[in-house]
Symmetry: C2
Subunit: 376 residues, 2 copies
Amino acid sequence: MTVGVIGGGQLARMMVPAALELGVGIRVLAEAPGMSAAIAASAVGDYRDLETVLEFARSVDVVTFDHEHVPQHVLRALVAEGIAVHPGPDALQYAQDKLLMRRKLSELGLPVPDWAAVENPEQLQAFLAEHDGRAVAKTARGGYDGKGVRVIDGVAEVDDWFAALAEDGNGGALLVEELVDFRRELAQQVARRPSGEIVPWPVVQTVQRGGICAEVVAPAPGAAARVAEVSEDIAVRIAEGLGVTGVLAVELFETLDGRVLVNELAMRPHNSGHWTIDGSTTSQFEQHLRAVLDLPLGATGTLQPWAMMINVLGGPEGESMPDRYAGAMREHPTAKFHSYDKESRPGRKVGHVTVCGDDLDEVAYQARGAAAFFQD
Amino acid sequence: MTVGVIGGGQLARMMVPAALELGVGIRVLAEAPGMSAAIAASAVGDYRDLETVLEFARSVDVVTFDHEHVPQHVLRALVAEGIAVHPGPDALQYAQDKLLMRRKLSELGLPVPDWAAVENPEQLQAFLAEHDGRAVAKTARGGYDGKGVRVIDGVAEVDDWFAALAEDGNGGALLVEELVDFRRELAQQVARRPSGEIVPWPVVQTVQRGGICAEVVAPAPGAAARVAEVSEDIAVRIAEGLGVTGVLAVELFETLDGRVLVNELAMRPHNSGHWTIDGSTTSQFEQHLRAVLDLPLGATGTLQPWAMMINVLGGPEGESMPDRYAGAMREHPTAKFHSYDKESRPGRKVGHVTVCGDDLDEVAYQARGAAAFFQD
């Protein structure tokens, strides 16, 4: 029983402990030597190259992903060969193209911000005019961690994106969305296995800074039962409606007027679920392996009443997280330290810290204090 | 920061997830290819061969162990080269030789069963005569999992051991101990770092079958505060008195008349601490890495009120644990399954199952039910 992971980043890395505990095999197709998941890398190569991916896929029982960038034609060739791919290309297309995703969610009747596909500045101007002159513009493809997303109050701010579309010549469009007046951001994760079983984790609160996840509190503090129920229902409907297999993360807005709207999707373990390694009976990484292997899913309750996860962004200049463990561990014995073995670089996710406990104030104090050791 | 582990068994394997989460390097010197810890094996060779061990040791920052069998002359040669070795040879000798251990514990004034070193059948007969004709005989070296231990009621039952001693010609002796009338067996783990910090876990109850650990309940149910305190005090005094670095496990007898006596020691992660992977803020594997790297030790509280660990002994005939996950996981969603990727063989430890929860009856029901899936 061997899972093959395409992509050698920290999400692949964090699947390795889960695979070792379960005693299932794991192999990684890494982009380069020495990546975060290097310990499990059985191949190094380009995930856009069909032959490279096919050769890797033939050495494992099921293919899954560290990221959503494997081209559709490669995915479909694997499926045509009879290789198990989870999530499959039919589901992944919605994670790869935000316009497809918005269209599909609207069709499914799920609550989304007002949106439009705009092919030119005139269409964008019309959308802005209907939305108090402000909106969020997104490229349909290739965005992550805030890249490919801009809050705009004029069409000129995305001139370069329209120019790129024109140059591309494929008749593409930008996605434009209403700027949602939100109270806070939530994230709902579920896992779904090919045979249909779906298990959710509790909905969590996320805090983004500069478009990058900074902090996660699990469960979302003070979430009304209705908000938790709606969030779970939305994620289950997306998982079923889009045919997702493996872990699905749905980023949500909770609005000032009490609605829950879908912001983004990820069809893989997700930053909003890192708390589950230390805080839930089943971590998102173990659950993802179970789901893609079509094994029964594990319980997802919290081990302690509260968990807080804080990303280490950038990392200590010229040092690694472990270089600073002596001080951080002495001051914060309850903190769980996770380093992805990536070089420090401004804005880069190089690790995270999680604290679990009974009292949220104390948990937050410990988590923020521990994480601060790694920020210059 | 790289830890080198001598020995490629399941204890080395279970250090790998902890190393990956912390982002510290781990390399294993395995006895053979394809062992349980193969994913981290950077070398394969004989741990009794000085050149093999030296070459491996020079590639890491600190050397530690999956087992206690590395010869003293090899350990001392590493230390002479300036290599950090934890636990060091001065401590490890007491784990390698039960006669040395008994002598040292007696010197330290720690509570131990009555014992004697017996060089011949006459001395053994004298000990038996003083102890109602029954005793436990042990070889000083080489025993584990019940091997090298016999409950006897006559000297003839260890004729072969005396014959081996005579053949050996080194003037050795057997260890003979009173047969303790115990209420139950306990195990107390602590971690100690070279700079002196010591942190205990809660004392646990262990159930042995045929000399092999079968079940562990954490914390030990109904342990009087005094018993917990005495157990912790004993382990701390041993760690300090013997200069142990890393994780120390002390197997204890709780007697019918309320005493706590030291049975055996292990200077490494130990079967009685596997519950900590799922049940404690800091697992014994993470703590061992922190200790041997001389990093501050983590908190050791329980995440849920109770944890129960059950060994999978032997394993399903002709199958692996993962081959039976479909049924076991469906029936037991809260169970944590650990497979060591070792072939099934009668009596062999091939994995374990842990369940944590609020109610000990329910925890035991789930843990025993889940483990039963893997026993033919």
